[in-house]
């Protein structure tokens, strides 16, 4: 197990965002998380990545208790994340954006350069290396964000709705990159996504959250037929129009 | 309490302008003073009573605000870096206007009569009728402003612009018009605070700068652009002023204000109720 959460709960005032969430991610797998809007998916990421501590419960990463660690400490241990809203440094070039990630490692400048170049090559971003981030399209921006995470030298990468806003073709090629990172880079991936077909397709195992609680855990294909998941998340039928159905 | 309520009134004008248009009005103090001077002038030359004079003064302030916006600020807002040029412009205009007041009315102190004479006593505390009147007026004023913001189309438009400018345009609000009327309204509100201040503390053309600095501390303390925050901050700082004067000496008021100011910026960088808007 590279990542394990034990009965993790988080409350914001009266709002119970997470309740006793148990999660186990095995080294080398792609793990998918889905669930209705407001189910607590992003909160779970935030708690794991150390943006804020859980109200109760324990988080273990790579055999180490990280429950109380700060975000940057967790990052140093090799666990990084991307955000739903693309965040890059607009005026910096792609190279510099990625280098900011690499600098977290605290090694000397030469090693950074190499690592950044390596990462850019790995993700096929060499051509864009000198483009300012503000001139990139959405797809490339997402790749750059991911590159910046990888350059920290992480072992577990958490992606928060990486496919949102991408066209079908872009989705397909982005998933290809994720597989490449996973297989050839040896990086474990934890991914939140609404585009369920894609998520089922790429994940080794999946978890569905609803109201802060785990309602499904296990085989991705099983998601489609699980009655509880259909009730709160998928809705009946294939293409249907919700409330007037 | 009393200083608090007067500060609140003054800070509200600043907050409206900043909240809606993101203009920092560095001529704010002199705007307040102008309200007082107009009232004083109508009172001493027209033979009108106090209330009509105040009303007339506020109408003047509103019109001046509107004209100022239409012919100077509105064109400036279209230029890049307007945040800075507008600050400098308003600052310069404030100084110019102050000197015009000085030329027109001389440096002597002016005052506006109290609304009520007399006072009463509760236990050991003596309270003037005038001070009660001031507090009541300010409370009514805050309530009225709140109603305006919440219950009228214009008020809702101001809030909408303050919260999301693009959203406001999407629902069909004319930004320029809303900016203009907000600026005019704020000018009148600020002028009114000057009237109230003048009934209690007298005024000279230059006194506005003191008021303005206090106003700035209050609105940043309260959270930029938050009207409720400004009112809370005004009362908190007014109370702090009284307590500090009593126990430490009045020279400590400013230092303590700034310590509180720094503390709140450290603990809550967005200010007391920052992030919330009109």
């Amino acid at each position: 197990m590279i990542l394990k959460t034990e009965r993790v709960s988080k409350a914001f005032g009266k709002l119970q965002a997470l309740l006793n969430v148990d999660l186990e991610v095995a080294e080398g797998e792609i793990f998918g998380i889905a669930g209705p809007n407001g189910a607590g998916k992003s909160t779970l990421f935030n708690v794991i990545a150390g943006a804020f501590p859980p109200s109760s419960g324990r988080i273990v990463f790579d055999g180490r208790d990280i429950t109380k660690l700060k975000a940057h400490q967790i990052c140093h241990l090799g666990l990084t994340r991307t955000f739903q809203v693309p965040r890059t440094f607009a005026t910096l070039s792609v190279f510099d954006n990625v280098r900011v990630g690499a600098t977290f490692g605290g090694e000397d400048i030469r090693i950074h350069r190499e690592k950044v170049n390596e990462t850019l090559a790995f993700l096929g971003l060499e051509e864009a290396r000198d483009t300012p981030a503000s001139n990139l399209d959405l797809y490339t921006t997402k790749l750059v964000m991911m590159a910046a995470c990888l350059a920290t030298g992480c072992r577990l990468l958490m992606l928060d709705e990486p496919l949102a806003g991408l066209s079908m073709i872009e989705i397909a090629s982005f998933l290809g990159v994720v597989r490449h990172i996973n297989r050839d880079g040896g990086i474990t991936v934890l991914m939140i996504e609404h585009i369920l077909d894609s998520l089922i397709d790429i994940s080794n195992r999946m978890l569905i959250l609803d109201n802060g609680q785990v309602i499904y855990f296990g085989d991705p294909e099983g998601v489609r037929t699980d009655p509880k998941v259909i009730e709160v998340y998928l809705g009946e039928g294939d293409i249907q129009f919700g409330e007037d159905a | 309490m009393i200083s608090g309520s007067l500060y609140a009134c003054m800070a509200l004008g600043l907050t409206i302008v900043y909240g809606v248009t993101h203009i920092f009005n560095f001529g704010h103090g002199i705007v307040a003073v102008s309200g007082g001077y107009f009232t004083w002038w109508f009172l001493s030359t027209t033979g009108l009573g106090l209330i009509p004079s105040i009303a007339l003064a506020l109408v003047c302030m509103f019109v001046i605000g509107l004209v100022l916006y239409k012919f100077t600020l509105s064109p400036m807002l279209k230029t890049p870096n307007w945040e800075f040029s507008v600050i400098i412009f308003l600052l310069g205009l404030g100084i110019l206007w102050e000197n015009l007041l000085l030329q027109a009315f001389g440096p002597r102190v002016k005052d506006i009569p109290k609304f009520f004479d007399g006072r009463f006593k509760i236990g050991f505390v003596r309270i003037n009728h005038h001070e009660i009147a001031l507090i009541v007026i300010v409370i009514l004023f805050v309530i009225g402003l709140n109603l305006l913001l919440k219950k009228t189309w214009f008020g809702q438009a101001m809030r909408a612009v303050a919260q999301d400018m693009d959203g406001a345009r999407i629902v069909g609000i004319n930004l320029n018009k809303t900016f203009g009327y907000s600026f005019a309204l704020a000018t009148a509100v600020t002028g009114f605070s000057g009237v109230l201040l003048a009934t209690k503390y007298y005024m000279t053309p230059h006194i506005g700068w003191d008021w303005m600095v206090k106003g700035f501390v209050i609105i940043v303390f309260g959270g930029l652009g938050s009207a409720t925050g400004a009112v809370y901050a005004a009362f908190i700082l007014g109370l702090a002023e009284a307590i500090v004067t009593l126990y430490l000496g009045s020279l400590w008021v400013w230092p303590i204000w700034f310590v509180m100011f720094l503390l709140i910026l450290l603990i809550r960088p967005q200010g007391l109720l920052g992030g919330r808007t009109l």
Binding site: - | I2, S3, N99, L102, G106, P107, R108, V109, D111, R119, K121, R126, N128, K200, Y201, Y202, T204, H206, I207, D210, E241, A242, I243, T245, L246, G249, S250, L251, V253, W254
Partner: protein, 411 residues
């Protein structure tokens, strides 16, 4: 060759100087006046300006000084900031001022600014800060004259007379406690501290000692402090009439019902007419001390001329003191027979015994400030009675009145 060149140069210079002075006879004599025309002291500054304008106009109408016209150049020193006085000073001297006259212009650097030059500088700053350098280096700062006494004089004077007043009005001090409220300014801190020191030596105890900033609007907390300390003397050292009026107004309201068994003393401020106008009835019974200005036959005549020119009354001591300074300097120049023979003019100023509009002036030769005695430029004690300032002492000024118990002392 070189000697010849030098000779020509010398001849040229002498010729230029000769021509220059011949030309100078037509050139007006320049009076530089650094005064506060904007900012918190603008109302005093306006009086200084008017006083000098009237003086110049009258002197020119009478044929000028030594046959030459006088001309006034003003410079605004605003809120009396050091950098302003410096800039204004350099400008006035640069313009060729033959004398610098002001009511007041500063809190302590003016002596250094004008001491650099030779022309006489007459100011009424009334501060030890301004006369100290003169006392320490008469050689260098010999051109600096302060035609008022020093601030500490108020403190010494208050100690001398304040505690005897009770007897005159049939009031016995209930205790030996003193409250001191002073504004954060040397002119007021110096005498207040001096007073505290001297009074303490007599066994009085300072129970409230507040330094306040300018622009103090809400006096409630300080009044509460006074109420709980219950002193027999409340002394108020300030120079802004607005702040002082707010104080006395809130004071009289505060103690209207329960009273306060204490005398209220004020330094200087009520001499500015604005004070009584703003404070109204609430100032009734206030005892205050100011300079000997604003009364007497010579002043009445001056007032008439003033009103003829300006259509308003002269307001405050600087309407008058600035004129006295001007006259002093005119007398010194006329006695010397020349304007820019500065050492001679300064010599004459030092020897001055000037009969001013209201009181007489004689310089203390140690620091070139004015002696404060009953004979020369006395401090005058007033009480506000029936809305008027009534002179109480020195005896020669007494208007026949007796001190009355102020309204807040309840029997």
């Amino acid at each position: 060759m070189r000697q010849k060149f030098l000779a020509i140069l010398v001849v040229g210079l002498v010729a230029a100087l000769g021509l220059g002075s011949a030309w100078a006879a037509d050139k007006p004599i320049l009076i530089g006046a650094p005064v506060p025309l904007t900012g918190p002291y603008a109302s005093d500054g306006e009086q200084m300006k008017m006083a000098l304008e009237l003086a110049v106009a009258e002197k020119n109408a009478a044929g000028g000084l030594l046959g030459r016209k006088l001309e006034l150049t003003l410079g605004d020193v605003g809120g009396l900031e050091a950098e302003k006085i410096k800039a204004v000073g350099e400008r006035l001297v640069g313009a060729g001022a033959n004398v610098i006259i002001t009511g007041y212009d500063d809190g302590g650097v003016d002596t250094k600014v004008f001491g650099e030059y030779d022309m006489p500088y007459l100011h009424g700053n009334a501060m030890t800060l301004c006369t100290q350098p003169v006392a320490e280096n008469l050689e260098k700062y010999g051109n600096v004259f302060q035609y008022t006494y020093n601030d500490k004089a108020y403190g010494m004077d208050a100690d001398k007379y304040l505690f005897g007043l009770g007897q005159e009005m049939g009031w016995k001090e209930p205790n030996k406690k003193i409250a001191i409220i002073k504004v954060d300014y040397a002119y007021n801190i110096m005498p207040a501290d001096e007073f505290a020191k001297l009074a303490a030596a007599k066994g009085y105890e300072v129970v409230v000692n507040e330094t306040v900033p300018f622009g103090m609007a809400e006096w409630g907390p300080i009044l509460s402090k006074i109420e709980s300390a219950d002193p027999a003397y409340v002394t108020f050292w300030h120079l802004d009439p607005t702040d002082a009026a707010r104080f006395i107004q809130q004071f009289s309201e505060h103690f209207k019902d329960d009273g306060l068994n204490a005398l209220v003393y004020m330094q200087y401020t009520p001499s500015i007419p604005e004070f009584i106008k703003l404070a109204g009835k609430s100032a009734e019974g206030v005892i205050w001390v100011g300079s000997a200005f604003g009364f007497g036959p010579k002043f009445e005549d001056y007032k008439k001329r003033w009103m003829a020119k300006f259509k308003t009354e002269p307001a405050g001591m600087y309407a008058e003191a600035t004129r006295d300074a001007f006259d002093m300097w005119v007398a010194a120049v006329e006695k010397a027979g020349c304007v820019d023979c500065y050492p001679k003019v300064i010599e004459n100023l030092r020897a001055t015994v000037h009969k001013g509009l209201c009181a007489d002036y004689k310089f203390d030769l140690r620091d070139q400030s004015i002696l404060q005695t009953d004979e020369y430029m006395p401090l005058v004690w007033f009480q506000i009675q029936d809305g008027k300032n009534v002179k109480m002492r020195p005896a020669k000024y007494n208007e026949g009145g007796k001190y009355k118990l102020p309204p807040w002392i309840k029997k």
